[in-house]
Amino acid sequence: MANRKERKKVSFSKVLIYLFLGIASLLSLFPFYWMFVMATRPSAAYNSIPPTITPGGMLVENFQKVLNQIDFFQAMWNSFLICSIVTLVVLFISSLAGFAFAKFKFPGKNGLFIAILLTMIIPPQLGLIPQYFLVSKAGLLDTLAGVMVVFFLNPLGIFLMRQYVSESVPDELIEAAKLDGCSNFKIYRSIVVPIILPAFATLGIIVFTAVWGEFLWQFTVLRDPENYTIQVALASLSNTFNIDFGMILSGVFWATIPLLIIFLLFNRLFISSITEGSVK
């Protein structure tokens, strides 16, 4: 009897828990769904009361309007190019330095490593104005390279790579390679890199998504719509006083879909990269 009562109580709290999580999931998903609804409706649907909450048939028409406003595919390509190059450069610099900090002995090593950690304290705003002039002086204003350069600085990457190399690359392996006459760079290339591929994936995701979603710097450097990244291009959609909501959300929808697909395919990797990046 008592047992049954207990069970009832438990199942009631279970219902509450599922209800709470269900509502949280719904609130998380709803804006995505609603973005899709608006992307498929004429702007006028927006004025109807009660609000429209089912998709319509204007997915293509609205996107056509986006294409008239911004060079959508060019902007996606620009973002993709910037993020890929920045990611590759950061991975290379970080893994090389991480390898050195993990496996080589040289005077001042610890001091240099602490210096790298300290650089994380300098906040980006302090750099915004001088970096703008620096980029402008170098003739890189309004170029993709001008966007990229500031993102090459990534102390977190070195920190993660050092951790990973010292944990997963055995010293014996390096010693053995040295006895065989391997140069240090060859050791890096043919022993370290293959072992730390998972760390590349983690850091790669962190860097790629961070640069993809960044706005302030891209917005500051880029002027010509031809050079816009997707974030700047999307932002420019709302910069008129006469706003076409269906068009805007269609642009957002098509820019978000590739990210969502990649996320759903690799969600484990995404989630673990976030905890790696921030917790360690």
Binding site: A24, L27, P31, F104, L126, Q131, W212, F215, I230, V279
Partner: protein
């Protein structure tokens, strides 16, 4: 024999030298990049804060004038006020909700775990620009916008979300909350998973209910993770820029309801060409960030020690 030994020694020594050179060579790229786009700009920023400069004509030294101009500008203080209010409303609830969500997501009997985790985390992968645009439609001033319609259902008057003092702040805070709560949840979840299950089992045997377990086991052991997220949330919240800029659209820099400190800085520099005061603002912002990050971190760690709930 001794010759061979000497050879080994020599080789060892040259090996050591090689390692040293490689070491310096491999860490050099970072320091070169840091010097050019990290350190130099930071120093230049400090220098610029004492100059009057429009970006073109020669600079002139003005001492502390820029700081005085900024600190005496009511608009600057308004931006500080806006930033703190929106930061508080956008991030403080995240910590509470994030901990509860993480705790629930870790319950052993829970089904559809992965589904819940993925959906709650999903907002984080969308860019802030996308979030701001989606929410600017959800929270538009129209009577028919979804936010106003919902208010109407509950018997409230529609709100001018993008023009009123509190409408803008609430809408922007909700955006920040929506995008980041899943991120915090995942970090807390990682923290909770590092807590041994034995503790919960022992507590269950001792008759502690789930709420007591959350309060007396999860919370204290989660402390380092909470400190971490409080630190990042504080720093992030004080740097608020994209959300209000995009949410307010064309009028973003001409109105003050949601003008943040970084927007004030941006406006000084790139709309008014007053780079000296903008640099001074950057330094003042740095001080504000350090101040709040320290205070919040201290409060969080202090609370944990007293075994009280962390807010």
């Amino acid at each position: 024999m001794s010759g061979q030994e000497r050879g080994v020694k020599k080789r060892y020594r040259s090996e050591k030298k090689k390692d040293m050179i490689s070491g310096y060579l491999y860490v050099a790229p970072f320091f070169i990049i840091f010097g050019v786009i990290g350190l130099y700009p930071a120093i230049f920023s400090v220098y610029l804060a004492f100059q009057k400069w429009n970006g073109l004509s020669p600079m002139s030294f003005v001492g502390l004038d820029n700081f005085r101009i900024v600190l005496e500008d009511p608009l600057f203080w308004k931006s500080v006020y806006n930033t703190i209010i929106m930061g508080l409303m956008g991030t403080a609830p995240q910590i509470v909700v994030g901990i509860v969500l993480a705790f629930l997501l870790n319950l052993t009997f829970l089904r559809f775990k992965n589904f819940f985790r993925i959906t709650i985390f999903m907002p984080y992968i969308t860019s802030m620009v996308a979030v701001a645009l989606i929410f600017s439609v959800l929270f538009s001033n129209h009577e028919s916008s979804l936010a106003n319609y919902m208010l109407g259902v509950f018997g409230f008057d529609p709100v001018n979300w993008s023009t009123s003092e509190w409408g803008t702040k609430i809408a922007i805070s909700i955006m920040v909350f929506w995008r980041w709560v899943g991120y915090n949840t995942i970090i807390y979840l990682a923290g909770i998973q590092s807590i041994s299950n034995d503790l919960y089992e022992a507590a269950t045997i001792d008759g502690a209910n789930k709420f007591q377990q959350l309060l007396y086991i999860t919370m204290p052991l989660l402390k380092p993770f909470i400190i971490l997220t409080v630190f990042f949330s504080t720093v992030g919240a004080l740097q608020l820029f994209s959300e209000p800029t995009i949410f307010l659209g064309a009028g973003a820099f001409t109105r003050d309801e949601a003008l943040t400190v970084v927007m004030y800085l941006y406006r000084d520099a790139f709309k008014l060409q007053s780079f000296g005061t903008a640099s001074a603002t950057a330094i003042i912002l740095l001080v504000i960030i350090l101040f709040f990050a320290t205070i919040n971190t201290l409060i969080t760690s202090g609370n944990g020690r007293k075994k009280k709930g962390v807010r």
